[in-house]
Symmetry: C2
Subunit: 345 residues, 2 copies
């Protein structure tokens, strides 16, 4: 049966307990709206003159947290800075001694002060360079900056979870085109994270194994490096969604060492390059899915971090918003085969 003739399938994976409908027929539907302009290549042309993230414009930014290399001046490679328009605030109380917040005023409702850290990682001093074009060692510098910043935040007792993410291109939510990613630290464990923990715990209870150590690679493997694999997940929510998963069991991203970061940098770059070749430089997001900062030793056997990379090829609609169930027109096995076979020059 050729891929285009596949019947639709409903799948749910063992990691996120998230349902998806895989339906090749959907890819043939017509549209009478003009197609989106390519969003990743559409910044205002004078952007880099006024871009706060460019080298030389450091004074336009919110305060710096650190830079790499540590004692560099104008020749920095990566800067981690405060977000000037933060979603959560360093200066707000989260605890119930703060009169205005910190108490649920109706059963079932939660209302907390929006305490937390919201940082930006400037991945390069140069406006037009993208992660995919950088040297492996430069990609690794960015990955190590994430690690270092999470390590600092770890010390703050009231932070429960740290989300690292990247928006590339306007359709992936980016408001600035200079290469950057973000780190957002929260005083609560978000719902997808607790759902994932529960789901992986159940898998472990039933099999004695970690769901990600045991992930399908049969028809779903794309590439492998010394310490990592890239795969199409069994229940991909988006076409060409790709996960990079450590081959070693590890609960927390920020425990990664320098060697492994360089290895990961290589596989991340390769994956982004393949997606760029196959999908013509698509807008994309990536998210590092790690474990809550404080986990118990009983949670260690079934928690395992990974990176989810999602090319943004279409806009979701009311069905996904209503049900949380995504419609993906591309079978993960087909996406994996295509990506596996791409030769990167």
């Amino acid at each position: 049966m050729s891929p285009a003739n596949h019947n639709p399938e409903i799948r749910k994976d063992a990691v996120n307990n998230r349902m998806v409908i895989i339906s090749p027929a959907r890819s043939r539907r017509p549209s009478d709206f003009k197609s989106k302009s390519k969003p990743s290549s559409n910044p205002n042309s004078d952007a880099h003159q006024t871009c706060p993230f460019c080298a030389g414009n450091e004074h336009q930014c919110a305060p710096e947290i650190f830079r790499s290399p540590e004692y560099s001046t104008s020749d920095w490679k990566v800067r981690v800075i405060e977000n000037l328009y933060p979603a959560v605030s360093r200066d707000v109380g989260v605890k119930s001694d703060d009169v205005e917040y910190g108490h649920a005023d109706v059963i079932g409702e939660v209302r907390l002060g929006g305490f937390g850290y919201h940082d930006v990682v400037i991945e390069s001093p140069v406006h037009s360079v993208q992660l995919v074009d950088m040297l492996v060692s430069e990609v690794a510098d960015v990955l190590i900056a994430y690690k270092k910043r999470i390590g600092q935040i770890c010390g703050v007792g009231s932070i429960s979870y740290v989300q690292v993410f990247k928006n590339h291109g306007a359709s992936a939510g980016a408001s600035l085109s200079h290469p950057h990613s973000q780190i957002l630290a929260l005083p609560v464990i978000p719902s997808t994270v607790s759902t994932r923990l529960n789901s992986m715990k159940e898998y472990h209870n039933q099999t004695g194994k970690c769901a990600l150590c045991n992930i399908h690679t049969d028809k779903l493997l794309i590439d492998e490096s010394t310490h990592f694999i890239s795969v199409s997940p069994f229940a991909s929510t988006y076409p060409f969604e790709t996960w990079i998963v450590p081959r070693y069991h590890s609960s927390h991203y920020h425990e990664i060492g320098e060697d492994k970061a360089i290895d990961l940098g290589g596989l991340l770059k390769l994956t982004l390059k393949k997606l760029s070749i196959q999908l013509d430089d698509p807008p994309y997001n990536f998210m590092i899915h790690t474990s809550p900062l404080q986990i118990t030793s009983s949670q260690l056997p079934y928690t395992h971090w990974y990176i989810q990379i999602v090319p943004q090829l279409s806009t979701i609609g009311g069905f996904e918003m209503g049900t949380g169930c995504y419609i993906n027109p591309v079978f993960p096995e087909d996406a994996a085969k295509i990506l596996r076979e791409i030769e990167v020059p």
Copy 2:
């Protein structure tokens, strides 16, 4: 404290158990991408000549299920048709006697045939008319078509949940501009629905009340009609998100009677009109959140349908994808006040 100076808050509601960060500071961040073209008014200019949903082009459509009025010919008002590119298929087995599907091949994973119904509701024979411009009785005709179609699907034992939704404008996911909505019937209960049931059950256990009968209206009420209210939800995930909630306790949308459908049509039209005035004809989605078709009598006291209307003003990013937690720059109290005070001519 003026709204713009509000500190950020983290909220979770009693209905969906969904976390949101409300952070007015976010609305001030700059963008170097060109702003989106207004998506709801941007169809190709010759669209209605070739539009399959226009009166006269019925032969270009997938088969009709019914029309209203029932025996109308070219003067139909609403048509319910099969989706030509369905996400789920009428012709696929869902059961395990289908060799290729119907069994989880690894613990924790689910793999089912994509059985279900996927229909389109053509809301008007006229290409350029929008729901917001239609007569109240015409809006009610659409609402009654939803009811009737769900009623038919109810008879199919293997369907568990029916999602009614509308995508208006390209940024809300619409691929066609002719006024329409969709009905998708699934053989499984989607995750947001089971999460909602659990959350409302817990609220009921603790208070003896239905979370939606007891919804906050203090500072959050927008409008009310005989049988319905419109409110900004306490933990709005999107700016100006609005819910229309029956004032009477009811688990299933499709039990609505003709009188109430007309009343609802009036409030839906008013709400869409206010959003259109305030936000300049924004792209939007609406979803009817109803209960699974088969619920037990013990679930009746805490299940209550409602309509969620979401203007699509921005693109979500990696943070929301990673955590399931949305960042909303507008406090629901402020949105409610603005919408409450709009005078509709």
